[in-house]
């Protein structure tokens, strides 16, 4: 079989970042931002907001103080690529932050590190110290600090993350205002995923065209995937975006792949019959990196129950559609399974999931129904019987 998967090596490539920074710091803010916009880079955390636009918004704000935040609260189940990036090429993340600082006019950066990744702290501190020394040589004023999370999934949501950084309870804020206007400590803040920042560095290195040539119109460039589940090749892979799920499964499946959960617990479950037409990318199904493969030995009911148990615990609890909705979806499928509620109750729950998507305060509640809907739509009989 022809291998249609294109492996790429941008993220983990060892490079001389000092030379790139030296070059980039000499450019204007607008030049840097225009390159990022031109490259088509979109956020690699999952939501896919155009990175260049985000930087432009932050740059255009008048403020005595601005911040750059690297979102390293990698909490999505099935995602483990940021840990690897921070282990292998942490200096590239720092360099990406410095470029963002230069572009937006911020001289302070923070890495919000997932609590479970605290084992990385000693090595990160060392790299940061070295990095600061390099910046000093380049005569560039930018300081990076680390804040540790405490294990709440919701703190990966950018505004909850900032609340947490400010020492408050990690609850998402109302938007607007967006972080580029009023973020950490109320100051303009551009917050980017670990991987996004490394790509920003690589775009600064090569210019936008190399990046732009990869992928599709809506999904430029490559992406680091965390492959797990029923696969002989579990691990981290950087792949060009825009491939079909069929190609992906041909590469990574065990020959008996029944479904793939794309984008972690908050993502979508795609059944075998849809592998061919499903594109992995922003025009199809986007992912922050998580790709979980399930073979025919797996019960989709158990998988869905797992996801919903995760959400009923990890909702921050402040808004009603999410807090109570997650409980209802879980209790609901349990009741249908036990025959307490009729199968048609699943339709009521799907209407509820629509409300959760539309009316929840943040991305958590808006995306928590994704696995529910996609599993019910594809494997309804497994839920009922």
């Amino acid at each position: 079989m022809e291998n249609k998967i294109k492996k790429v090596d941008l993220i983990f490539e060892k490079i001389d970042y000092v030379e790139i920074l030296d070059r980039t710091f000499k450019r204007t803010q607008d030049e840097i931002i225009l390159d990022i916009i031109d490259s088509g880079l979109r956020g690699r955390g999952g939501a896919g907001f155009p990175t260049g636009l985000k930087w432009k918004f932050a740059k255009n704000e008048e403020s005595d103080q601005k911040y750059v935040i690297c979102n390293a609260d990698e909490g999505e189940p099935g995602t483990f690529k940021d840990r690897e990036i921070l282990t292998q090429v942490p200096e590239k993340v720092l360099a990406g932050m410095a470029i963002c600082g230069k572009a937006t006019g911020a001289n302070e950066g923070y890495i919000y590190l997932r609590g479970e990744y605290n084992f990385l702290l000693p090595s990160l501190y060392k790299v940061i110290e070295e990095f600061h020394a390099r910046l000093k040589e380049l005569n560039f004023d930018f300081t990076i600090r680390i804040k540790s999370g405490s294990g709440a999934y919701v703190c990966g949501e950018e505004t909850a993350l900032m609340e947490s950084m400010e020492g408050k309870r990690g609850e998402p804020r109302n938007k607007p205002p967006f972080p580029t206007t009023a973020g950490y400590l109320g100051k303009p803040t551009s917050i980017n995923n670990v991987e996004t920042l490394v790509f920003a560095l690589m775009i600064a290195k090569e210019g936008p065209s190399q990046f732009k040539e990869m992928g599709t119109f809506d999904s430029r460039g490559s992406k680091v995937f965390s492959v797990s589940g029923d696969t002989p090749k579990a691990g981290i892979y950087e792949l060009e975006l825009g491939m079909s799920l069929e190609d992906f499964v041909n590469e990574f499946g065990d020959g008996d792949t029944k479904a793939v959960q794309i984008g972690g617990a908050s993502g979508y479950c795609v059944a075998r019959k849809h592998f061919k037409e499903t594109v992995i990318g922003f025009e199809g199904i986007p992912t922050g990196g998580s790709m979980m493969l399930f073979n025919s030995t797996r019960s989709m009911y158990n998988i869905l129950t797992d996801y919903l148990e995760f959400f009923e615990e990890e909702s921050c609890g402040q808004c009603s559609p999410c807090r109570v909705g997650c409980q209802q979806l879980l209790k609901g499928i349990e009741a249908v399974k036990k025959g307490i509620k009729p199968p048609a109750y699943l339709d009521d729950l799907q209407k509820l999931s629509e409300t959760m998507k539309l009316a929840s305060k943040c991305g958590l509640g808006q995306s928590a129904p994704n696995p529910f809907n996609s599993i019910i739509n594809n494997f309804r009989e497994e839920i009922i019987y």
Partner: protein, 593 residues
């Protein structure tokens, strides 16, 4: 700052509003009501109940009307199919979590969730029951906290932190376990809670209510061996009318009539002891000033008022090093209790053991105050039961009394006479104004130099107020005060009080005398007052209080003839031996959690 107008359409009708207006307020201008639960006029925006979601044309999501500012060209639909579906779902979800025992619920008929579920006819239970039953926390003598009724709107948390700077209530846990809790989930009685009850005033359901003592009071009334007297605080008389749908109004006479019909043996007035407080506290202030200015003694200045038990407990927890600054005077309620069971009992020839003193207060902290071990100056529990204005309303309803049709009646004598200076205790700045009216006159022999005795600078809803009065041409015995500029400050709401305390501690402000009331707007906004509350309602109550003052014949505490009589025949002099035993108290430092 100049404001820009923003043009938008709501339900296809054009409207132009100031920049920064929320969709909720813009809709109000067009007379579209968008339901809310977590929103409260006194509090910052939360946007967490999601019952106010609306459809914005072109937006994939349904934004929360309370939390979203308008923008130019916005098109909003407040009652589209999507909105209706989401809104019904949100209400149903909240109900699935809620211990909906409406018929036996304390807030039945005054519950925002009940009202909404009624409005939307959420008949069939769509969702499964996910409520978690747990016994209510009744550790506090003032506040009952029942988590099974809580809808997690966090109004109480915002009240406790933002308005009151107490932070006894906080959010704990996450997801399905998220709840409103205290430090380490300790009982309410064991934490920093001041019992102010502001959370009760803003709770949309019955998750936070007062501990009610209605049955105990009725039992006492029915007991032929008991002689039951009732005292009424200043702020109750302008708010009780709200319990009968009559808005904030002066209704002293009707209230007295209603209490008499309820069967209280005597209807007396806390206003009498408010006047007495001015005599004691005014003398205390002048004594402290003399000790500081003449004797060169180290005395704690500024002196701070002690009428508000929420404020007292706050000070004991948060500023335990400043307890000496508090006036040693008991609050008017707690001056009334021991006098009723000593002076009054003697006059009417009753055994104080057979007496029951009930007070009607705008306050929940007064329930706690009455329980303090210091409050047994008479040898008995000085005040047996404390009821809120709301509980009084319930008693009147239960007894079948048509409040609106009652003819005015007068308080019984003695302990029923009062002045306009006493009634203004109910509004922020009132104690200060009453004290100034008397102290200035004692020192100079002349009335305070303000038109019609109305000391306007100490009135109003500003969080912290300051004023200065120059003392001139004093009587010879007060010569040490000649030319002194008496500096005073007033704070209401504990967040403002904390701010003022911090200014004093860091030396940026300097005063002789400070009035603090724990509740926003003073006692008229007390935690025991009718629900709902907002600035507009509190301003009306304040206006009624000042009108009551102006209508009184006597308007200065030292002119109260009953006060003169009690000094002549019983107390002998302010700060005298008997006063010390009955009318003054001590404060104790408390832990800060």
């Amino acid at each position: 700052m100049s404001t820009y107008k923003v043009n938008l359409k709501i339900n296809n009708l054009p409207v132009s509003v100031d920049e920064g207006t929320t969709i909720l307020d813009a809709a109000k201008q067009l007379n579209f009501k968008i339901p809310t639960l977590c929103h409260h006029d006194d509090l910052c925006v939360a946007g967490n109940c999601r019952v106010c979601v609306v459809e914005q044309v072109g937006n994939r999501l349904l934004p929360a009307a309370c939390a979203t500012p308008v923008s130019e060209g916005m098109e909003i639909l407040t009652n589209s199919m999507k909105v209706r579906q989401a809104r019904k779902h949100v209400i149903e979800l909240l109900l699935s979590e809620h211990n909906a025992e409406c018929t036996i619920c304390y807030k039945n008929g005054n519950c925002e969730l009940q009202e909404l579920s009624n409005e939307y006819r959420t008949g069939n239970k769509l969702f499964l029951d996910v409520k978690k039953l747990r016994a209510a926390d009744i550790s506090s003598p003032s506040i009952e906290k029942d988590d099974t009724k809580c809808i997690r709107c966090q109004r109480c948390v915002r009240t406790c932190t933002q308005l009151q700077a107490v932070s006894a209530l906080t959010v704990a846990h996450k997801g399905k376990d998220m709840k409103i809790s205290t430090f380490l989930d300790k009982p309410m009685h064991d934490v920093v809670c001041t019992n102010c009850g502001q959370c009760i005033n803003r709770c949309p359901t019955a998750a936070l209510v007062e501990r009610n003592y209605i049955d105990q009071v009725f039992d006492a009334i029915y007991d032929p061996k008991k002689f039951v007297v009732v005292q009424t605080a200043p702020a109750t008389r302008v708010a009780i009318s709200e319990e009968f749908g009559m808005g904030p109004n002066r209704s002293t006479g009707k209230m007295v009539a209603a209490l008499r019909r309820l069967g209280f043996d005597k209807v007396l007035d806390t206003d009498f002891t408010a006047d007495l407080t001015i005599m004691e506290e005014g003398t205390e202030l002048l004594t402290r000033l003399k000790e500081a200015l003449v004797d060169g003694k180290e005395v704690a200045l500024p002196m701070m008022t002690s009428c508000s038990p929420g404020w007292i407990k706050f000070q004991e927890h948060i500023f335990p090093d400043m307890l000496d600054n508090l006036s040693t005077c008991k609050s008017p309620q707690q001056m009334f209790g021991p006098l009723a069971k000593t002076y009054y009992a003697e006059k009417i020839n009753k055994n104080p053991a057979d007496m029951v003193v009930v007070s009607i207060m705008p306050c929940t902290a007064k329930k706690y105050e009455a329980d303090r071990p210091e409050m047994r100056g008479s040898g008995y529990k000085d005040v047996d039961f404390v009821l809120t204005t709301r509980e009084m309303g319930m008693m009147i309803k239960q007894a079948g009394i048509d409040f609106g049709k009652l003819e005015d009646e007068k308080y019984d004598s003695i302990l029923g006479e009062s002045t306009g200076a006493a009634v203004i205790f109910g509004a922020t700045g009132g104690v200060m104004e009453a004290a100034l009216r008397t102290a200035y006159e004692i020192v100079t022999g002349r009335e305070v130099p303000f038109a019609n005795l109305n000391i306007k600078p100490v009135r109003g809803m500003e969080g912290i107020k300051e004023a200065a009065v120059k003392i001139k041409d004093v009587k010879p015995e007060w010569s040490f005060l000649e030319g002194v500029e008496l500096k005073v400050a007033i704070a209401h709401g504990l967040a403002n009080a904390k701010e003022l305390m911090n200014r004093i501690k860091d030396g940026t402000a300097n005063y002789h005398f400070i009035e603090v009331m724990a509740c926003p707007s003073g006692c008229i906004g007390g935690g025991g007052q009718p629900i709902p509350t907002n600035m507009e309602i509190r301003k009306k109550r304040a206006a009624a209080i000042y009108e009551e003052d102006e209508k009184m014949v006597l308007r200065k505490s030292h002119e109260n003839p009953e006060v003169a009589e009690i000094y002549k025949s019983f107390l002998h002099k302010p700060l005298g031996h008997r006063s010390h035993d009955l009318l003054h108290t001590h404060y104790y430092p408390k832990k800060r959690y």
